[in-house]
Symmetry: C2
């Protein structure tokens, strides 16, 4: 079992390594660049790579490959998105997922401009879909989720502000953007008030 | 100091209380609804409200008000957004922020359809803006951030996949949607592999 916080640091390491000019890097240097604890970064890298050498550090290219292997970026991940309104549209056209070898293969909606949700069954029978992305209105989200699960999809990325009921073996990651902004504002007000 | 995890649970409590049919609720009941630990929920609620009574629990309406006071939902928060591409557009038109009394007052871009970024100075001199939302391309994000900070804005909600350099007294919350999806897929692959 690894912590969520550990997994969230990994893309930050990869981002900095991609920009780093030298061939070798120590965990201390990486920690200083990201303003993180040295012990924390050393332990993180030890979980991902065997490449650290005393006094020399990690070979940057090798470490990047170890990170990609660990996170599975070398395998192609396939997604479908349901709900092509404003948010769905933004996500579907976003090129930033390519970096992690994640591809949104198809978009579904009830509007005529897109494949109809009735076509999800046929589409999923031909492809092995890793994740279903839900960007439909709140009151439709559970129905859409049930439809995706019935096709054997085991991971749901949910943007609708509702808690989805799913069986034990399904992983749901909720993105609550409004909650997130409200927490930022709470932090700001606390600082201002001190 | 309160933990991020605690703050992220609060909107979940509010969501469930809004749907709850009875007048009173115990922290145990709320914990069971959300599949959270009973001690955790009891401690959380004690931080937010003095209203818990042995055997009766919390008066639901009073608890909701205590949550809103604690999180500052009773005050109006003002935001501006810079970058009205696909993502900016989705966020600008989203009605879900109203629930937390957060209002995106104005949108800026370099395109003619929106207020130009040169007008940010005048706009901010007339209004006290709580948060600046950045949805511009990665290579423009730091410039835009500097512009927002020069107007005295102390909180930044950043969607560009780049670490922003800001002074100590400024709070930045990064939303890394691509990182988040890559972590969901990592979780799914780990479960499948076991
Ligand atoms: N826009 C944002 O910035 C934002 C932010 C946070 C959360 N969300 C959430 O994301 C979801 C989408 O938001 P939006 O702003 O894009 O909404 P939207 O109304 O612009 O788009 C919703 C889309 O879903 C489609 N749809 C409705 N029922 C459907 C069904 N049963 N099957 C397939 N498609 C269906 C609609 O035709 C429409 O295209 C909502 O749940 C919203 O609460 C949006
Ligand atoms: N679309 C997504 O789903 C998504 C997901 C994750 C992250 N992001 C990030 O969010 C940002 C926006 O993404 P998008 O898909 O909406 O891009 P986009 O290209 O559709 O929109 C970018 C907008 O920014 C404007 N712009 C450019 N330079 C500017 C400047 N100096 N000042 C003001 N406006 C300026 C452009 O005119 C355009 O309207 C990017 O940094 C992207 O990496 C987007």
């Amino acid at each position: 079992y690894v912590s969520e916080a550990f997994l969230e640091r990994i893309p930050l390491y990869l981002n900095e390594l991609e920009k780093y000019k030298n061939d070798y890097i120590s965990s201390t240097t990486l920690a200083n660049i990201l303003n993180l604890g040295e012990v924390l970064v050393r332990k993180d890298l030890a979980k991902i790579s065997q490449g650290g050498k005393p006094k020399i550090g990690y070979h940057v290219m090798d470490l990047m490959n170890d990170i990609k292997d660990y996170m599975g970026y070398n395998n192609k991940s396939k997604a479908i998105i349901v709900g092509m309104g404003r948010l769905g549209n933004a996500l579907y056209h976003y090129s930033g997922f390519n970096k992690y070898n994640i591809h949104i293969l198809e978009a579904f909606d009830i509007l005529d401009d897109y494949k109809n949700i009735n076509e999800i069954k046929d589409f999923c029978s031909e492809q092995d879909i890793d994740v279903g992305i839900i960007t439909v209105p709140k009151d439709q989200a559970q129905n859409v989720c049930n439809l995706l699960l019935s096709q054997g999809i085991k991971a749901i990325w949910n943007f609708a502000p509702i808690r989805l009921n799913v069986p034990e073996d399904v992983i749901v990651q909720n993105e609550n953007l409004a909650d997130s902004l409200s927490i930022l504002i709470k932090h700001k007000n606390d600082v201002v008030r001190k």
